[in-house]
Symmetry: C2
Subunit: 196 residues, 2 copies
DNA sequence: GACGTTCTATGCAGGTCTGTATAGAACGTG
DNA sequence: CACGTTCTATACAGACCTGCATAGAACGTC
């Protein structure tokens, strides 16, 4: 027995992609089926809770995926490099997709269509990312409160900049924000523990 | 002759409110009519271009409204106070609305449903806000490039934090971000022109 | 008071969306 | 091979949405 159905997985991955481009309300099951090639009959088999359940699963999947990328960037315990690398990843996403695709978790947070569980799943994803960032900052000597507030700034700044980039059809906002964030984080780390 | 119809104005204002809560795709003309009390027959009279035209008008209106609030906060030529005041305004919006309402311009930027003109209108609004901020920073002695990049950081940080607040049902992310932004902006201004 | 413009009333067509129901295939297990 | 579980096929109901068309009201102007 496969742990999870192939069609189900494909639907979730397609959902994440479509949410990024069109938002939740703007994405119908028909869109997901067409994009994933999943069979029509299996929608309410795999997601008996309907669109709400589907959106929650997509949010969890996307949260884990992006969280994995973030943890990868944080592996060297160098928060400045991690900020740059995480931002560069997003710049790649924006540029390769003609600025049509953003962050699926933001899309979920901004769209009120689905039930409260979906919003909560988005909040969980953000909290996890923030925590990952803060842990590394603390490890580099930044105080817990400051680390938390810096982590929130980095996340908010990058996510907000992605929105600006989409609206303006340019990656420049994110480039500028990444530079500023690198400076701020670098100063905080340097002020806590002298540079290696 | 009234410069613009009353029903038309009411529709636009209602649209801004509904976009903030439900996004663009999540808002139908039926919702707008119910919320505004505007007469059904006048939708395609006032907005012959349909939903695209309506969304563009809503975006322009919201961009001007929020831009006005931002310029008000910037009146004292004190960027640090302006950041705090602008963030406080958003905290008020979030708390008074149970974290259901965010920024309508973000909603437009993230939703791909309408045509490209709508996205562009959102980009124009962001650009105008950013310019307003940068102008005051330059006036306080910050170099042009730095001012621009700081302005982008402030805008991205606040808009991103609003999204986090909605997802987590708390204003704390925005409070943390506002504190960090005030510090960064304060340092930039102090470094350019000695404090009054 | 006739007229033109602006706005509103109402109905409808065509399409799409979610969600349900029912039946059939695929497939491993014994 | 009989069986149960998991998955898929298909049709459909009911609601909603956009956009159009046509007719009527309101109102200022001459």
């Amino acid at each position: 027995m496969p742990p999870t159905s192939d069609a189900r997985d494909r639907m979730i991955r397609s959902g994440a992609q479509l949410f990024r481009e069109r938002g939740v309300s703007g994405t119908s099951f028909a869109d997901v089926l067409e994009h994933s090639g999943a069979p029509r009959g299996s929608v309410y088999h795999h997601f008996p809770g309907g669109k709400d359940e589907f959106a929650i699963e997509v949010t969890r999947y996307a949260g884990g995926l992006i969280g994995g990328a973030l943890r990868g960037a944080l592996e060297g315990d160098d928060p400045v490099a991690a900020v740059r690398s995480f931002a560069d990843m997003w710049i790649g996403v924006l540029e390769s997709g003609e600025y049509a695709a953003g962050c699926p978790v933001v899309a979920v947070a901004v769209d009120a269509a689905p039930g409260p569980g979906t919003r909560a799943a988005a909040g969980d994803a953000f909290a996890a990312w923030e925590s990952d960032l803060a842990v590394v900052l603390v490890r580099r000597g930044v105080g817990e409160d400051r680390a938390r507030s810096l982590a929130t700034l980095v996340l908010s700044g990058i996510e907000g900049a992605i929105v600006l980039c989409r609206a303006q059809g340019s990656a420049e906002p994110l480039r500028r924000v990444a530079g500023e964030l690198a400076t701020v984080v670098g100063a905080a780390v340097a002020g806590s523990r002298p540079p290696a």
